[in-house]
Amino acid sequence: MTDLLLEATGVVKTYGAVNALREASLAVRPGEIHALLGANGAGKSTLVKILTGAVRPDAGTITLRGQPCQVRSPAEARASGMVSVYQEPALIPDLAVRDNLRLTGTPIEPFRAWVAELGITTLDLRALARDLPLPTLRILDLARALAIAPDVLLLDEITAALPADLSERVMDVVGRQREGGRSVIFISHRLIEVAALCDRATVLRDGQTVGVLDITEGSENEIVRLMLGPAANGLAAPGGPREPAVASAALPAATAVPAPDASTPRLEVRGLRAGRKLQDVTFDLRAGEVLGVAGLEGQGQDELFAILSGDDRPDEGELRVDGVPMRFRHPADAIAAGLVLIPADRMQALLLQRSVRENIALPAVAPVRRWGPIAMRGEGRRVQGAIQQLQIDTRAGAEVRRLSGGNQQKVTIARWIAGGVRTLLCFDPTRGIDVGTKREIYHLLRELASGGAAILLYTSELEEIQLACDRAVVIYGGRVVDEIPAAEANEARLLRAAHGLRRGAIA
């Protein structure tokens, strides 16, 4: 087929014992938006790295416009018309935006035009990249890629962590790449976006291409079926919020500590204020419930979670755990009070060079032994229990950094479960995680809640509030502006509240 713009066939890549890619293929036509989908660990990132020259494949051929093509670095890929925008922005934090553009030889005028097109109206090119907020950096990264008019644009989770309005602009701009025969390879876990934007999709599972399909009405179900494979299809059934809670009867009793008194909330937050970002936050979190926190980027949720996990101190306000006033001076204080954090950025939680076992055993909420050498067998039993409960794939478990993103996130949760959990603070725990693992995580949160744990869950994907929570509070401008029971917490209602609107149209 000569009408393909980019074709990869039989791509194989192994890291030690792990087959990242067994038999991956991808064919992109000119002028199409092509989705690349797969669960975490399916090999998407590896394939992207190979296409952009960051990693060399063990076998397989890649052709660009019918010509065999071997790029050895992102710079070479760029020269041949393939540009990638990665999950973490590739701007140098200590350089000004202008110098970042000079570094890549990006023409300034087209860059400016794209930045404006993407919805950022004020930009000082002399600002250091590290002083800019993450959503802005992603937009700049995208504009920098668009500015050299690439034939193939690879977008890895470009909309993750973008506020809704910017997301829309991005989708719009990406869609218009079709004009002039330019193609986009679009990686996203948000199937709604894929359905709205893409023409075709390639689905990877376990390092193999398991299907290529045209996106039409209702192809989401087919995609999910392909991604999960035959074994996991039980999980694929889109369950309502209550369904997993029923399954929790099978939960081992030792995993969660029962609440001492059901009438006192596990966590009471009263009038919390800190700096400019957090103005006045008040809510209760009860044992046995999952309380959702919804909000747009930068409405104070980061500060709220930092205070609850003992990472930061409030200027004003009160925290009570089981009715007892608390002042955390250090995360260790919060952990001792049973408040443990699962951050969005797994790098903040894990010791990347150490093993799965050490990572899980480290926090030791209830240590196997207080002093003296660690009781290895007891520790091993707990760790194994947590690994099994979360179904962590430990084949590459000698070093956590070699695990896939979803598996890493499971390790961050397992750390706390191994010792028994009372209050779990989850800050966007499913960021950049595939549908299958997401469902597993929500299922687990429901299980833990019905086992007596209290769970506070912030998520940047509003549609997930209804999936996992009992009720939700909406945070806007550093204040809790609304409280909504799960049954009413549909996306439209949440979005209105998250934009600070009580009623009326979505902003």
Partner: protein
């Protein structure tokens, strides 16, 4: 977007360059204080005494900005110092020009060897350069096993005294070398790449920076400055010195004081150069004040710790806002 800088931007620029500005103000204050303390002690003597360290600090700054560290700076200075002294001894005044050029090239080559080894072996920079510091120190002793050799008259004169009775010649030389060797480089793509590499290696790679070549270049530049430092040693003392290990750690102290982040990516070389002078003046002042030399090193160390703590505090406050 195209508008003239407003007050906020000017303030921003001052904030970014604030540390360097501060260290120059401290330097100015110390110069005045020293002059009051002992007006007979000439600035030229001081500028001469601090010249080798200033070059060493400049070299170290380049490597640390690029995310590495070079523990062989002192040994490279020794090697280049004795090489210059041996070649210049008994040689004509004109030949010395060639010697100076050769020694600078030698520095670049030696630095490039350091960088290439770090890139090829993937052994951490600190280990590679520590090991190489012994190699270069040994080589220096082979060239000249005790202080000796000589320096051409003009080479000695060029760093001595004041220019127009105003600016110490040593400072003029320093400004010339930095102005010719660093300023254009800083503004080139290689300069950006050096900062990019130290700031975020992965992002640099993804931005198309030739990571390995840039790293070798950073060490080669460091070698160049170390050679300039070695030449300065020979020029100021008139002989070659085969053991100068002390300069390595003093250079690290100077860059920290000069506002370079040991984590890479931040700082410049003007700050470290001023810091080298500050360290030298403090040392001289403590001598004038008759402080016991043992206490004086303790005081210098204490000042370092204090300064680094203040820097850390300022950074913390900046982030909180």
């Amino acid at each position: 977007m195209m508008r003239r800088p407003d007050t906020a931007e000017v303030l921003g620029a001052v904030r970014r360059g604030g540390w360097t500005l501060g260290i120059y103000l401290v330097l100015l204050g110390l110069v005045i204080y020293t002059w009051i303390l002992n007006s007979r002690y000439g600035l030229d003597t001081l500028a001469m005494a601090a010249l080798p360290l200033a070059f060493a600090a400049a070299g170290q700054a380049v490597v640390v900005i690029s995310g590495g560290i070079d523990l062989s700076v002192g040994a490279m200075m020794a090697l280049t110092s004795v090489t210059a002294a041996v070649l210049m001894k008994n040689a004509g005044e004109e030949v010395a020009v060639v010697v100076v050029a050769l020694v600078l090239l030698l520095g670049i080559a030696v630095g490039a060897v350091n960088g290439t080894l770090a890139v090829i072996t993937r052994v951490p920079d600190i280990v590679v350069t520590l090991a190489m510091s012994y190699v270069w120190a040994g080589t220096a002793l082979l060239v000249l096993d005790r202080p000796g050799g000589g320096a051409a008259e003009w080479v000695q004169d060029v760093v001595k005294g004041d220019l127009l009775d105003l600016v110490p010649r040593a400072t003029v030389i320093l400004a010339l070398v930095v102005g010719i060797a660093w300023v254009p480089l800083r503004r080139s793509r290689l300069g950006l790449s050096l900062y990019a590499l130290g700031s975020h290696p992965l992002a640099a790679f993804r931005s198309g920076v030739p990571v390995q070549r840039t790293k070798v270049a950073s060490y080669a530049i460091c070698g160049f400055f170390a050679a300039a430092g070695g030449l300065a040693l020979t020029a100021t003392t008139g002989i070659g010195t085969p053991t100068t290990g002390d300069y390595t750690l003093k250079a690290v102290a100077a860059i920290v004081l000069g506002g370079v982040s040991l984590a890479g990516g931040r700082g410049g070389i003007l700050g470290p150069i001023a810091a080298a002078y500050v360290l030298a003046i403090i040392r001289a002042d403590l001598v004038f004040m008759g402080v016991d030399p043992n206490y004086s090193t303790m005081i210098q160390g204490g000042i370092m710790v204090l300064v680094v703590m203040v820097a850390g505090y300022l950074e913390l406050r900046r982030r909180r806002r």
